[in-house]
Each structure stands twice: as C-alpha cells, then as structure tokens.
C-alpha cells in the first residue's frame, strides 16, 4: 500500500528543491487547478449531460435518491480511507456491514429486541471486529491486508451460522426448527426509510453527520495528524512519542464502527437479514476511497474525497439507468470513466523525472 501510493517519498532526492523557491507560472496554476478540480469538474459535466437528456435527473427527489443509494458505499469508503490514512487497508468492511445487518435482524426477529438494542448490537459488533483487526495487526504483526482479509472470510462464514445460511425474516425457520416471530419495529425501519421533512432521507443525514465528524477529526484535530503521520512513517511518529499502535487500532475500530452503521442502514432499508446483502460493497467502497485520492488532487486518502467518489459513482449509475443504458454497458462505462479520470488526474500532476 504505502510503497505504491506514496512513491514520491522514495523519489524525493530527485525532486529536492531548496525550501521556498517555488515560482508559479499561470500555466502551472491552471494545471494545479485542473489537478484539484479535475474529477469534480467531470462530475458537474456528467450531471449537465444527464439533465439535458433526462430533465427529471436534476429533480430534488432524484438527487436525494442518488445520495441515498450512494450513502452506504460512501460510509464504508470513509472507513477505508481512515485505515488507509494510517497506512493500513481494511478489507473486512464489506463483511462487517453484512454481518452487522444480520446481527440487527437477529436481535429484532429472534430476540424481539428494540430498535435501540439492534443498533447497539451492530455497533458492538463493528467495534469488536475493529479491535480484533487492530490487535491482529499491531500485537501479532500480521500485515494489514492479510489480517483484514482473514476477518473478511471469518465474518462471511460467521454471519451465516446462526441462521444456518438462511435469510432472516419474520417466520423464517432457524436451524433448530423453531420459527421466528419477531418483527422489525417501525422505529428501526424509519432509520433507513424515513425522510426528514419528507425530503431528505435519514441515511443521507447519517452520512452527512459521520462525514462531518470524520473530516473534523482527520483534517483539523491532532488525532487526525497523528493518524496521517503514522501512515506516512510509523517509526518517526513513534519516536515523536505517538502511541502509534493505539492509533492504528483506533483507525480500525473507527472503520469497523462506521461499517456496522452501514450494516444497520442496510437492515433498516431491506427490512430483513439478507444473506446476499453487501457482497459488492467492499469493491465499490474501495473504488470510492481510491477515487478519493484523486478528487481534490491530494493524492492521499481523504474522507471528503472518498464520499465524493461514492457520489460520483452513484450519479453515474443513476444517470445511465435513466438513459436506459443496458446494465452491462454500465459497468464498462463506470470502469472507463474511472480509469480515464484517474489517468487524467495523476498524469497531469506528474513531475518530470527519469
């Protein structure tokens, strides 16, 4: 991860320029502007095109609809970005969300728990998994991607066991033959379905809130600085007296918790424990998080970028379906735009070396 993504750290001596001798020509300024705004610009262009072809696209309902459909992926992407920032990589978010979703349903349908209980269960699961990842990585020195991949499989299996692999809804049969009797309370369903003032979907509000907090922490708080420092050069951070291990664990706990909130949202939207849910979440979230590198030309993991990335993909899919592009074209166009946007952003910001 680190080696590949922060390569300028390695090529540094080739670029070394004495402190504060940066002469900025208008051309470079334009280039930098493009580098910063590249993807955002593309996003705006896209919206324009879609609106032109299908006016409904710009309708308030539809825009919130897009945000809503992007919300869950965006949440997970925020989580991944945080772990990327500490030089890690949480591959388990997808299955955390899926498992949390099953857990919530189990609490509601089998244990007749309240909406609160279900939500608490989700969070507990997310935090626990995050701790588990963190400890594996810091105490047992398992490489991040390896540890979280293990957790991925672990959860993917675990979530199936209580129900014997079946989906979980009122009246579904448990392995022991009993039939479930609990139901999803409206309070819980509202969490995923209600709209504030009948306009803004709750998931969007949740996303906004979490994003706000994450941005504050990552960009403006000392914790965020230490997280990035740990990712940039753990030894240096440790020598500076930062409890890097604890921070890394923290990052995984955070991403676990956020992912589990995503899971709760899924459960609330679907209204049952769906075994198939969230299988494509991981890749989409990672895609969003990595697009985030490019969004503001920061070339480092960042929360706002990740969210933008998720919305970007959401807009694309929504617009394309509106234009009735066959679904098999959608994946392709998604990929093509992704690759194009990236090639553009990264090559434009490239410095000449040999």
């Amino acid at each position: 991860m680190k080696t590949t993504l922060h390569e300028d750290a390695v090529s540094a001596p080739l670029l070394s320029a004495p402190l504060a001798t940066r002469v900025v020509s208008p051309r470079t300024r334009l280039r930098e502007a493009l580098e910063r705004g590249g993807i955002v610009l593309l996003l705006i262009v896209l919206c324009a095109v879609f609106t032109w072809c299908e006016p409904v696209f710009l309708g308030v309902d539809n825009l919130f609809n897009i945000l809503q459909s992007a919300a869950i992926v965006a949440l997970l992407a925020v989580g991944v970005s945080i772990t990327l920032a500490v030089g890690g990589f949480d591959l388990s978010i997808g299955s955390i969300a899926a498992t949390a979703q099953m857990a919530a349903s189990y609490v509601l349908v089998v244990w007749h728990g309240s909406a609160f209980d279900a939500f608490a269960a989700c969070l507990a699961l997310g935090v626990a998994t995050g701790l588990f990842n963190g400890v594996l990585i810091t105490r047992f020195r398992v490489p991040d991607q390896l540890a979280t991949l293990g957790t991925l499989f672990l959860l993917a299996g675990l979530q199936l066991i209580p129900t014997g692999g079946r989906s979980l809804a009122t009246g579904s049969i448990l392995p022991d033959g009993t039939e479930t009797t609990g139901t999803f309370p409206d309070a819980f369903l509202a969490f995923g379905r209600a709209r504030w003032l009948g306009v803004v979907p709750v998931p969007v509000i949740v996303l906004a809130a979490i994003t706000l907090v994450a941005v504050l922490v990552m960009e403006f708080s000392r914790w965020g600085r230490v997280l990035y420092a740990t990712g940039g050069n753990e030894t240096a951070a440790r020598l500076a007296g930062a409890p890097t291990a604890r921070y890394r664990i923290g990052a995984y706990v955070a991403s676990g918790a956020i992912a589990s909130v995503g899971g709760a949202l899924i459960a609330a939207r679907v209204g049952r424990g769906d075994v198939g849910a969230g299988h494509s979440l991981l890749l989409d979230a990672v895609a969003a998080a990595l697009i985030g590198y490019a969004v503001w030309g920061l070339k480092r993991p960042n929360v706002l970028g990740a969210v933008t990335g998720a919305v970007f993909v959401g807009v694309l899919l929504n617009g394309l379906t509106m234009l009735n592009a066959p679904y098999y074209m959608q994946d392709f166009i998604k990929g093509a735009l992704l690759v194009g946007a990236l090639a553009f952003t990264f090559s434009i910001g490239r410095k000449t070396t040999r």
Partner: protein, 539 residues
Amino acid sequence: MSDAPVVLDARGLSKRFGPTVALADFNLSIRAGEVVALMGANGAGKSTVVKILSGVLAPDSGSIALRGHPYAPASTKHAKTLGVATMHQSVADAGVPTLSIAENLLLERTSSARTRWFATPSSRLRDARGIAARVGVTGDLRAPLSEQSVATKQLITLARALDNDPAVLMLDEPTASLSAAEAQTLFEAIDALRARGVGILLVSHRMGDLRRIADRAVVLRDGRHAGDFPAPLDCDAALQAMIGRALTLRRAESGKLASAVDESATAELAINESAINEPVHSTSTHDTAATIAPVRDGATHAGDTARHRGFEARGLKLFDDAPPLDFAASRGEIVAIAGPIGGGKSRLARTLFGIEPIASGSMTLDGAPWQPHSAAQAIASGVFMLGEDRWQTSLFPDSVPFASIEGTLSFPFLSRWFRRGRVARRHERRVARDAIRRMTVRCKGPSDRVVNLSGGNQQKVALARWHVEPARMLLLDEPFQGVDVGARAEIVDILRANAADRVTLVFVSDLEEALEVADRVLHFDRLRIETLTDFLAEH
C-alpha cells in the same frame, strides 16, 4: 563547570546483537551545561549508546541515573517525558515525508495528549513558525517534507528535539550533511542550550565540530570505553584511542601514497585550531588557502587540449537561467566539487550521470561526446555514480530478499555478469569477499544483511559496489556521510589506489573532506563553478 550537578550517569552498559558485542561495560556521565563528545570508529557502538539512552533499545545490563533518580525509559516517549531528547543519526526516521514541514515540526505536540485536540491550519502554521525560528528555517512551511534537502530535514529534526525543553540532548551525527554555515546555526543553538544548563551528548566524526563545542570527549572502541579527553581536545591522542593505531593520513597528491602524518595532520590541525573561537567557515578556508590550496591548483589544471583523456564540460547549463559551466577533469585525477548544501552539487552529479536533462552545452568523455540519457547507459559505458543518502539512492530495505552485502554489490552488474539470466552465487560471493577485504567492511560475511551493519559500514558497502568493476568516470555524492576519520582515510586510500585510470569527481559540502581527498578542489554554489583560489580571492 566541573562542579555543575551530574544530570545523566550511566554505569556498566552492555548490549549484544547476536554474536556482535555492540557495547561492553560502558560508563558515561554528563553534567548540566556540559557538551560531551562521543567519538568512535564506525561500528564502535555510538549509535547503540544513543539508542539505549533514548529508550529505543534496552541494555542487556547496566544502570542509568537521570538527575539522581534511576532512569530506565520504557519507550522513546517515556525518555522524552523524562527529559531526554534525541536527534537520531538516520534522517529517514526523523520525519514524515508525506506531511508538510509545519506538521513535522509539530509532530511532538500533536502526539502529546496534553495538546488541545482542535486547531485550525493557520494557528498550526503559527506555532510551527515559532519552532522553526529556533534553527532559522524560514519560508513556506506547507511544502511537504519529502521535497526538502537533507540539511533542511536535519534542521527540522533538531528544531523538534529542542521544542520540549530537554534536560539532556543527544545528537547522533547532526552535522553529517550540514554545510559549515548550517553547522554554525546548529552550534549557536547548542550554545544557547548549554547556557540553559542542558547536558548534551554529541556524536560526530568531524574533528572541527568537536573542537568547536565539546567540553570533553569520550572515546569508544569496539563497544568499550577507550579514554576521556578534556578540552582543548588533543586530536591525535583521541584519534589514536579511537582507531587503536597511530593515524596516518595520506598526503593529498595523485600517484604516490607516501605516508606523512606530520604535514597533512598539522594542516588539518591548522584548520581546527582556528576553528575553535571563530566561525568555522570563513577562517578555516582562509588558512587552507594559505597553506594548501595554491599548491593543489598548480598541480594539474587539465586544459582544453584536444584528445583530452578525461571528462570535459563546455558551456554546460543545468537550467536555462543558470550560468554556463566549463570545467575538465583528467583520468587519474581526483577532483572535489565542494560547496554549501543546496548549491546544486547533487544536481550536477545527476546531470553528468545522465538522469537529469541538460538545458544547453556539451560534455565530452575521452574526447568523444558524452550524452547519456539513462543510468543504464551510463553504467554500461563505465560511468558510475554513488548517490547521496544511501538509504534512498543505493541500498535496499531488508524486505528485499538479496538485501545482503553480496546482493547489494552485484546488483548493478547482474546483466553484465549473468547474460543468460541465472545468477551464479559463487561468483557473486567471491566478488563480495574481495570487496569486503579491500574496503575493510566490519561484518561477519558476504551474506550479512545490510541493515545490521553500522552506518559507516553501510556507506562502505555502497561505495564498494562501484569498485567491483573498472570505471571510466566515478561520481561520488557526499561519500563521507557518517564515516569516521579512520574509515575516511581508508576510503581516501581506496579512491586513490583505484583512481589511476579513471576520472573521479567527489561532490562534498565539507571543505575539510574535499581537501583530504582531492588533487584539485573546485568550488560550486548556486550552479556557479570556480577554482578554489578564485573563490577564496573573492572572500
């Protein structure tokens, strides 16, 4: 002075790494406001001492007292909070390349739980400026650290060390990559601390520096205490204690290798005498000019004769707006290109090596036009370069399977030696053994991992690599970084012994080093080149 209270007192420290005894029953005490120099050959155990005192390593045995209380730092953080600040030898550990200078300066503060959790970027910048001021770093602190020169990185690290007013400050090779002027700023900072009663432990290979500020020198040899030397420092005695034999510096003249301790030693002393009270830079160079420089410049001023065997640059411009460079170096000659850090030496070196484009002008090698466009091509045609900062430009991290001495040595020549692809370990090993012997690398064998070698020995390995095959031109960028006097003398010998049939260009920021190694010294700053005499005439 001597009645000042003892701030740090270490007794019977020992540390082994496998079979290597890095430190054996070592005692050290530092008084308030005292600057203690820790001297020792490469691998003597200096860094180990520093690491133990700063809580990076735990001693196998021994006890330490800080201000009279037992001191056993559980971690670097712990050491810091107890009042022992450290500037480690490796710049790479020092900062976070991906973060801005400001954020690096504030790393300790942000890492400490006592700091307020929220801060606007602007307020951060303000705080950072405050810290930067202490070591005279100015300018845009938002630039990423990765874009800074080694010197700047070092100064930033020091600034951080000073920030949390320590009782004891340890500096491991602080001046290794600092120009005289920058070293001066550093020393002033140290003097200020001394006045505030901070105990200071200074590890350095530069006699000049030590004589300039050390109150006392403690010498290590093979991890053992090998003598205490009060100021004024008796260099010869100290060096002898360090290396265990009378040091014989070679007289700086191409060809013959007559050993003559007296002249060059005194020459060096001459430099250092004057270095004690006056600012190092100007005076020392004046003396040098007086004693040595004219002779040297007289030696061989390879002119623009046609069929010139060697390297020649005509109207070479590194940048469009840079002055044109005209200079030549013949085969068998060692030319030092000396000048302050950030003057463009590395840039020039990389240009000659062919990995930086030239704005205009021409270069010739042995009369034939020299226009390389890749490292591969340069190496293939016998032009080698040893980059500055070995861990960035030469050595491989331990995660690389062949990051052993032999693997490091053979890497550039794999395609030359093993055309058909299969790497013959035996050949590789033979070459490595030979190199280790010639370079006197302190190690267990060719298959040692490079990470486990001491700084100086790592540097020797990096240098050895470019001696396993004959070179037409050898470019050395800061080849003496973190190399002790003894080793430096050895390296100089090696360079001379092999200089006979090649052009050797040494790019150094330390004049002392330049004078020791070179037949001829060219001064280079702001991309402008001139003979040392001309340069000195101006001053």
